[in-house]
Symmetry: C2
Subunit: 241 residues, 2 copies
Amino acid sequence: MLMAATVQSLPMIEQDHPCFGCAVRELAICGSLESAALREFKANGPAADYEAGETVVYEGDRAANVYTLTSGLLRLSKLLPDGRRQIAGFLFPGDFLGITMEEEHAFTAEAVASSSLCRFPRRQFDDFVADHPELERRLYAVAAHELAAARQQLVLLGRKTATERIASFLLMLASRCHSMGSSEEIDFPMSRADIGDYLGLRIETVSREITALKTGRLIQLTGRHSFRIVDRDRLEQLAEG
Amino acid sequence: MLMAATVQSLPMIEQDHPCFGCAVRELAICGSLESAALREFKANGPAADYEAGETVVYEGDRAANVYTLTSGLLRLSKLLPDGRRQIAGFLFPGDFLGITMEEEHAFTAEAVASSSLCRFPRRQFDDFVADHPELERRLYAVAAHELAAARQQLVLLGRKTATERIASFLLMLASRCHSMGSSEEIDFPMSRADIGDYLGLRIETVSREITALKTGRLIQLTGRHSFRIVDRDRLEQLAEG
DNA sequence: CGACGGATTGAAGCACCTCAACGGGAGTGG
DNA sequence: CCACTCCCGTTGAGGTGCTTCAATCCGTCG
């Protein structure tokens, strides 16, 4: 019954629809479009694939395209002149890349793992959005959500300790990569360097803090890029300071 | 001629219009509405005044209203359980308060200096926006801009040194409080504590760094809450690392 | 005048960084 | 199959930039 309700809330599409079978349709902005409009939309957005490490857009590039991530993981980052790097966020499947009214991308987007995207020419995308208020609405909701997330990250970077940052990060992973479930195994493809650049820490500190959480039996490491939450309560307590 | 062009780009309003003489109309989202729509809009948004230190909205409050700041200065902040505070941003005249699709405000908004706002019931505001695509567009632009600013602040908090943070902050003040002009005096009403909580530093560090910039002849302190940029080039160099 | 709050200055401590060595899994080549 | 290398992650020891604690200064207000 619950599942039926979920499905019911989505516009139905046909088996021959180009978006039929898309795993992230309901998550992505596409989810706000009904079948015919979605078909027209998708006609402008062919797939584009990137291997881990490849760059999707460079900071400073003209923002000629916008994207929807269908699978994989991207990082949004910025480099200071001397090489210091800050990752402003990760994009998960269903996330939208290209929230801006500026001419240029403000951040570099790179594939952390091999990723697939739907790529839309910005011009056509804008025109299409102008004709579809429901899409405009959805875009605003996405922007508002991203803004809240970025501001939450400001609290982490400005005021939390290394331990609190790592705990917050692991909980974020748990909520984004998974459908809850307390003791499930959580995979994350990003390196310790990526984690450090996201949390404003050095890789050595990331490593030490993760080890400490493992030693304290808050988490269990099931691999270098996967873990299990053992004591969610204590982890949440830690994360909030 | 230049002025005429600027005025021309704005929808004209009449002398008896409730928004006639509003100093921030062109800056605020209101700037996207033509006279009649703006009149209808303003009918739902009476003025509300707050003294320095008063709270406009509390984190966790139901988001029953949205606001446009017409004068003064607000801070958006969040408190950790043990009292640590992070300021996510400042709102200047013309800025919009209430970018969210959530039911509750994620941040507390307080007046740094005595401030005036136009207050709109959220429900009516949403309805009005739904009827005015140009306003929806403008809201999206505002959200995208705020998102870019927040992400830029992530770089500052995650990777910049205390000196670089202060330099960046002073330049931000210069660009937001003023119409450029190199050696103008810049006033800022926020306390050292506010600055520290915005930059992820303690007030002692803020004080020391400001003193250092003064000693190094990069800036000149003209009062406890005002300064002048002496060497903008070096200040910008510092700010970028 | 004294008291108060915000800002500055000084001295000592510590959380995280830096530098350096080591470990372990994946790929390669014999 | 083992030997080798490379890359990434872990661990250790020492350094440092910012914090913490504390005293002083200064403008405002009663």
